[in-house]
């Protein structure tokens, strides 16, 4: 019943709104011109639907994007890597990871991708909101097929010893207008939270802001607050395109991963 009502609302919205959205979201330097898009699909109460509307399939085409640099689908407001406020040890470790061509990236050993890393893990991303359960699930098509829970029931983070550091951390979320805001703490240090290998510690506190400025575009932004690794908090993000008409296929990095033994770097 509810799904029929949602479908009816979406149909009315699609008929009444202009055929193309005037969303302002655009990528950075060299971004491919984005084709006209239908407007943002919405729930009956008006807030954005981050998954496929009823009767449709598709996923977010994750795999690219970064928190720094302005190229491609990166946000034009991103800082350059040279501007990242590293603590000295973190800068040295980042440079070492670059020098060795990311040969020690835990992701290549099939570690779960926490924070922004999940949004640029290849082979697709889905974001399902479950209002009855007061949760948002963020599902990865690639990597180790990670599913992350964002609690939307106004709970707070566990404190002290009750907080067990993990790959995905403890995420609580809420809507601010059309933006899903996710606050996460409780990360372990066994993964790289971005592909480039920017270091983090267990003190990492992430604030992610996710919106859908038009049907085909997901805007992802993250604010990194980790005083042990960075001298101040900093932000960046990128746009992710909608991939319509397909579901993602089964993919487990652990199935037949032969790469680790051959990663020798420079």
């Amino acid at each position: 019943m509810q799904s029929r009502w949602i479908a009816a609302c979406l149909s009315v919205a699609l008929l009444c709104l202009p055929a193309v959205s005037m969303a302002q979201a655009r990528g950075g330097r060299g971004a491919t011109p984005r084709p006209p898009s239908a407007p943002t699909p919405r729930w009956p109460d008006g807030h954005p639907l981050l998954s496929a509307p009823p009767g449709q399939i598709g996923y977010w085409d994750s795999g690219t994007g970064s928190l720094t640099g302005k190229n491609g689908n990166n946000l034009p407001t991103n800082m350059e890597t040279s501007e990242v406020p590293f603590q000295p040890w973190a800068k040295a470790l980042y440079e070492e990871r670059q020098r060795t061509q990311s040969k020690n990236d835990p992701h290549a050993r099939c570690a779960a991708p926490g924070g922004p890393r999940q949004f640029h893990t290849p082979f697709g991303l889905l974001i399902y909101e479950l209002p009855e359960a007061k949760r948002v699930l963020i599902l990865s098509g690639g990597g180790v097929r990670t599913w992350r829970v964002v609690y939307m029931d106004r709970r707070t983070h566990p404190q002290g010893d009750a907080l067990n550091p993990g790959f995905l951390g403890h995420s609580v979320g809420h809507w601010e207008g059309d933006t899903l805001v996710i606050d996460t703490i409780g990360f372990n240090e066994k993964f790289w939270f971005v592909r480039a290998g920017f270091p983090h510690t267990e003190a990492l506190h992430l604030t992610e802001r996710i919106s859908r400025p038009d049907f085909n575009t997901l805007k992802y932004e993250a604010t990194v607050d980790d005083p042990r690794a960075y001298t101040r908090s900093w932000s960046g993000g990128w746009l992710i395109n909608w991939h319509p008409g397909e579901d993602f296929e089964e993919y487990f990095c652990t199935d037949n991963n032969r790469d680790a033994e051959h990663l020798v770097g420079r």
């Binding site: 970064s66 992701h107 290549a108 099939c110 592909r195 480039a196 296929e249 089964e250 032969r258």
Partner: protein, 141 residues
Amino acid sequence: MKRRSLGFSAIITGLLVWAGPMLAHHSFAAEYDSTKPVKVTGAVTRVDWMNPHAYFYIDVKDTASGRVQNWAFELAAPSVLQRQGWTRSTLKVGDVITVDGTRAKDGGNHGNARTVINAATGKKYGAGSSEGQAPAETTPQ
């Protein structure tokens, strides 16, 4: 008509061979040496149609010594290969193929395939190599 169909075939072949920058779950540069291209011909001995990368193995005969060595080649993930015209039975044990690719840095008989040509059919397949893809955060500034 013939010219049109040739043109159409060229486009289709181009689409099948086009590799494009495919994202991998690991750094290409950490594993393969772009300055060491490798081209070998041999019979397929094994195919692993699996994630995170499909693999195939071929027996390659050294023309000088006559010695046969088994080589392993990495392909893209099966879902990526399917978009380029592959199926899990595109390569079968016993097929004689020519592989164009990039050799592993560790010096073993291991490489990343860029294209594969089936000797019997002459059909050429792009292998979904992620060569040339720079890690996103290290784009020139």
